[in-house]
Amino acid sequence: MTQRSEVLLDVRNLKVSFFTHFGEVKAVNDISYYVNRGEVIALVGESGCGKSVSQMSVIQLIQSPPGRIMGGEVIFEGKDLLKYGANSKEMRAIRGKEISMVFQEPMTSLNPVFTIGKQLEEVISTHMGISKKEAWEKGVKALAAVDIPDPEERMKNYPFELSGGMRQRVLIAMAIACQSKLIIADEPTTALDVTTQAQIMELLMSIVKERGTSLVIVTHNLGLVSRYSERIYVMYAGRIVESGTTRDILTSPRHPYTVGLLNSVPRLEDDKDKELVPIEGMPPNLIDLPDTCAFMPRCRYAFDKCAGSRAPELRKVGENDHYAACYLDAGEGSIQ
């Protein structure tokens, strides 16, 4: 049972489109989700499914034009952030202060011609209204909090002097420097090598647990988040196709796409000779999406109702708020 009373971020019916030469790309097509205080959730899907765009839209970071938020509400601590202008003072006060983002590309996400310290100090002094010197000291503390050795010295380094893992730590430090209530980590480990990936995830988790920060992990890797997130939202072609507790999603997935995702990643609890099965076909073109289920062309379980009906809505399929958007009315576990 979820307790909606603790909700920190409540996204309702968010729609985001990009207007290109080829037509309107419905990158995010009516999605709703929520994050409780201190909760870790995951948004999972293939690249291009709209998961990153939906997160950027939360703090209105979409390049406009071509992007545009077409509708919905982003309610953060009771206030609808979409009511603020993209460059308004109110929106800027949220960014980096209340909600922080950690990006996929640590190599290019820091400005190459300013020192780490300068960039941290700038963010901290912008939000905390304190002197540069105090902001610098807070920056040193933030670096220490993400286990960077010699934080005073590292403040004077330029980004290119640090390894990818180190830079991602710096970005995490930036995210926690102003005591954000929510951190959105967009594929935080994808660009890193495998050993560093685990370190960064552990670091991120220990920090949010310690501080009671909420965390949204955006990833294509269901295996990665299974250990960390409490709930999972699965996205496909701009929509959420399944949501539920991590346990429910992993043990009794109800949407064929989720099943496909699970079969395509190795998991610890699997038999060691279990075969990995990739999902056949390509993600759909988001410009001329059919009215029918977007996953149907790739779906192994598609049947006549799928072809003749509009895309299925999310419906409750189990206890603990387990929802799936599929016409397949199979009993628990049967589609596996």
Binding site: R95, S100, F103, N111, V113
Partner: protein
């Protein structure tokens, strides 16, 4: 030695090599010129004894390498030789005319840089606006219009029709600054047009490229104001490569001064070289080529070093990546 030191040392060595090579080129001018330079000055009817005497005075009778050695030795002592036709010491001629040329080219470069950067930033931040489209037109025209013709048309417009500015001539800024401004306005403008357009175009391109970088998204995602994002975070990245472009423009403006001085009858280095070329006055030509190129190479060197100093990626590459 840190990497900026090594970078600086390499730049200095390259500059010294270029200056040496240019000195050889300048020296060779007299030998590559068609015809006998002495006869060209004295006339075909001049008697053999006079020709011989002048050859000796000019060291032209000595072996090739000795000639170069004597020429360079003289230059290091500040002796550029004597003009064949103007009956003046070349060093003195240059000393009188170089400040004139510098008082036109330096302001032209500064104006081009300042306005070029401002225009480039305005166009990049208002992409597709009327100002932005005008820049494309300006760049296209600036690259296609002969600056000597623009100069003449300006004289007609501002001098003849409107009567705002004197038609031509020059006044030293140290004698009468107002007169200098009035007389230098047009020549400085025609020298500034092309570099300004080039710099504006490059700044615009760089800004647009930088604005799409991940680190700009980071700055926005962390609540920095759009002003700070654009004019601090993006601008610094966009401007660093402009330093290199400035070096190129300095070189071209030095060449352009020949035209500006010719059009506006200004007694600077450019006019001097035209007079000397028409008179085949080789000691002057050699000295001008050498002096102007040395200045250009020196400016280039300074800009290269400041580029290395401005860009931390060059300044610090020798340090180890911290893991």
């Amino acid at each position: 030695m840190n990497s900026l030191g090594a970078y600086t040392r390499n730049r200095i060595l390259l500059s010294l090599f270029i200056i040496f090579a240019v000195s050889v080129f300048a020296f060779l001018i007299v030998h590559l010129m068609p015809g006998d330079p002495v006869r060209a000055v004295l006339g075909i009817e001049a008697d053999e004894a006079a020709v011989q005497k002048m050859r000796e005075e000019l060291n032209l009778d000595k072996p090739f390498l000795t000639q170069y050695w004597l020429w360079m030795k003289g230059i290091f002592k500040g002796n550029f030789g004597r003009s064949l036709t103007l009956n003046t010491d070349v060093g003195e001629l240059i000393g009188r005319r170089l400040p004139v040329t510098l008082s036109l080219t330096i302001p032209a470069l500064i104006i081009a840089a300042i306005f070029g950067i401002i225009i480039g930033v305005i166009c990049a931040t208002n992409r597709g606006s009327i100002a932005d489209q005008l820049l494309t037109v300006l760049v296209t025209i600036a690259n296609g219009v002969p600056i000597f013709w623009i100069g003449i048309m300006m004289i007609y417009l501002f001098g003849v029709l409107l009567g705002w500015l004197p038609l031509m001539g020059y006044a030293s800024p140290f004698e009468s600054f107002v007169e200098y401004l009035r007389k230098a306005a047009m020549p400085v403008s025609i020298l500034a047009i092309r570099p300004m357009a080039e710099i504006a175009r490059q700044v615009r391109t760089n800004m647009l490229e930088v604005i799409n970088q991940d680190y700009i998204r980071t700055a926005r995602a962390y609540g920095l104001s759009e002003r700070k994002v654009k004019y601090k975070y993006a601008l610094k990245n966009a401007l660093i490569p402009i330093v290199t472009l400035l070096a190129l423009q300095a070189r071209d403006v030095a060449g352009g001064s020949v035209l500006a001085e010719q059009v506006f009858s200004i007694a600077g280095m450019g006019q001097l070289i035209m007079i000397s070329v028409l008179n085949r006055d080789f000691p002057v030509i050699q000295a001008i080529v050498l002096v102007i190129t040395v200045i250009v190479v020196f400016v280039n060197l300074l800009l290269d070093i400041s580029y290395g100093w401005l860009d931390p990626r060059i300044r610090m590459t020798a340090r180890k990546v911290i893991n």
